[in-house]
């Protein structure tokens, strides 16, 4: 890559940039297809068959079938798109956010009610940078 990507130092964050856009296109276009009710029905009826319509990598396919929300981001998923799978499952943004951050729905909801995740200690992957710059 030719540009410095200083946001790569932010922990737990998958910026949908050119690098991810190049690998995630088909995965996200599958998600987009779920805007149509008839496609949601087909996907619910037979997910593997529905996914055959899209040129996904085996790993992208796995993350969708297993609802590995964090895994989807790592193989080019864009949250504005992958959330449509969750909507199809009857889940909310908050349900998925809890699963991505590895805590129970209740724990996540409690954290949000208490004011959310603090930026302190969460700005840099290298926590010494957090202390220096935070």
């Amino acid at each position: 890559m030719s540009r410095p990507r200083d946001y790569e130092s932010i922990p737990g964050t998958y910026v949908y940039d050119a690098e991810r856009g190049r690998v995630g296109y088909a995965l996200n276009m599958f998600c987009m297809s779920l805007n149509k009710a008839e496609n949601r029905r087909s996907f619910k009826e037979n997910a593997p068959a529905y996914l055959d319509r899209f040129p996904l990598t085996p790993e992208q396919r796995r993350t969708v079938l297993e609802r590995d929300w964090l895994g989807m981001l790592k193989v080019g998923g864009n949250i504005y798109y992958t959330i449509k799978i969750a909507f199809c499952d009857g889940l909310t943004f908050q349900d998925v956010a809890g699963m991505m951050s590895g805590v129970s729905k209740e724990t996540y909801a409690k954290m949000m009610l208490a004011g959310g995740r603090t930026p302190d200690g969460n700005r840099y992957k290298d926590s010494s940078e957090d202390i220096k710059n935070g």
Binding site: D6, Y7, I10, P11, G12, T13, Y14, V15, Y16, D17, A18, G21, Y25, N28, M29, C31, M32, L34, N35, K36, A37, R40, L70, L73, N78, I79, Y80, Y81, I83, K84, F87, C88, T92, F93, Q94, A97, G98, M100, S101, G102, Y108, M111, M112, L113, G115, G116, R117, T118, P119, N122, R123, Y124
Partner: protein, 282 residues
């Protein structure tokens, strides 16, 4: 001559729309948020603008990754409500203002802002939630709307500084329109929130408060916040706040803050709302 009389900044969290559509605004979870919207609704009803420009981002509804317009203006006479993956919101169709929208499209392009023009597009919660927040649940929206979309879904979004300058160009264009229209402009999205990754749920009240203060005090300095700073400090989706700069740039230098409301949480998000009246001479 048309004039931009005021700006409204507000978050456009989808769950806020769901709460309204399902009649949950009085629950203990939602009541504090919605109570804070009431003064804004009263203010807007009294102002009774002739038309609104709503700056927002599409969320994979009208546009996909197939074609990604950085700045887009909707010139249609009506905009249907999008199915975002859970059926369309039960809200009125949004009426457009083609005459002003086409004037804006022409003026902005000749003023070196290369807008994409949409003759047909559905609108999603990014546009309808701000309308619901500020107008409640009417049978028809009280004014026509010009949708102005900003890409924030594919990195990089336009910079805050570019958005601010687009706002300035919108103001120039509005003031050249030959009908006497009182225009409000909405900047939507934000405030601090992160919807993705292990860091989901990030909220930064300190950043948001400084941002709200800066909108009146020093908007030019505020517009220079970098994308990485938004993402680090206000969460990866906090970068949506670049859209607030379009609104602010359209108001001119002299503005008065007439109302603000800030509440955590609305689902995963810090919900902010601010009303600015334009005191700048035309």
């Amino acid at each position: 001559m048309a004039k931009i009389v005021a700006g409204i900044a507000t978050s456009h969290v989808p769950a806020i729309g769901v709460a309204m559509d399902k009649g949950m605004t009085g629950t203990p979870y939602w009541q504090p948020l919605f109570k804070g919207y009431e003064p804004a609704r009263e203010w807007l009803a009294k102002l009774a603008p002739d038309v609104a420009i709503i700056v927002y981002n599409d969320h994979a509804c009208a546009f996909s990754l197939e074609i990604i317009p950085t700045f887009l203006i909707g010139v249609a006479d009506k905009f249907p409500i999008a199915d975002e993956g859970f059926g369309p919101r039960p809200v009125p169709v949004v009426k457009g203002h083609p005459a002003l929208a086409w004037h804006l499209a022409e003026s902005l392009i000749l003023d070196e802002f290369d807008m994409t023009i949409a003759n047909e597009m559905p609108v999603d919660h990014g546009l309808t939630v701000p309308l619901s927040v500020t107008c409640g649940r009417p049978d028809a929206w009280p004014f026509p709307v010009i949708p102005l979309c900003v890409n924030v879904v594919q990195y990089p979004p336009p910079t805050g500084a570019r958005c601010y300058k687009l706002g300035m160009a919108i103001r120039r264009a509005v003031e050249q329109f030959d009908q006497d229209l009182r225009v409000v402009i909405y900047g939507t999205g934000g405030m601090s929130h992160q919807l993705q990754g292990e860091r989901a749920g990030l909220i930064n009240r300190e950043f948001d408060t400084a941002f709200l203060d800066g909108l009146t005090r020093d908007p030019v300095a505020l517009s220079k916040i970098t994308h990485t700073e938004y993402m680090r400090e206000a969460g990866s989706e906090g970068v949506e706040m670049v859209m607030w700069h379009v609104m602010r740039g359209a108001l001119g230098e002299d503005v008065a803050e007439v109302y603000r409301h800030y509440h955590v949480p609305a689902s995963n998000t810090a919900a902010g709302l601010m009303i600015l009246e334009n005191r700048s001479p035309a």
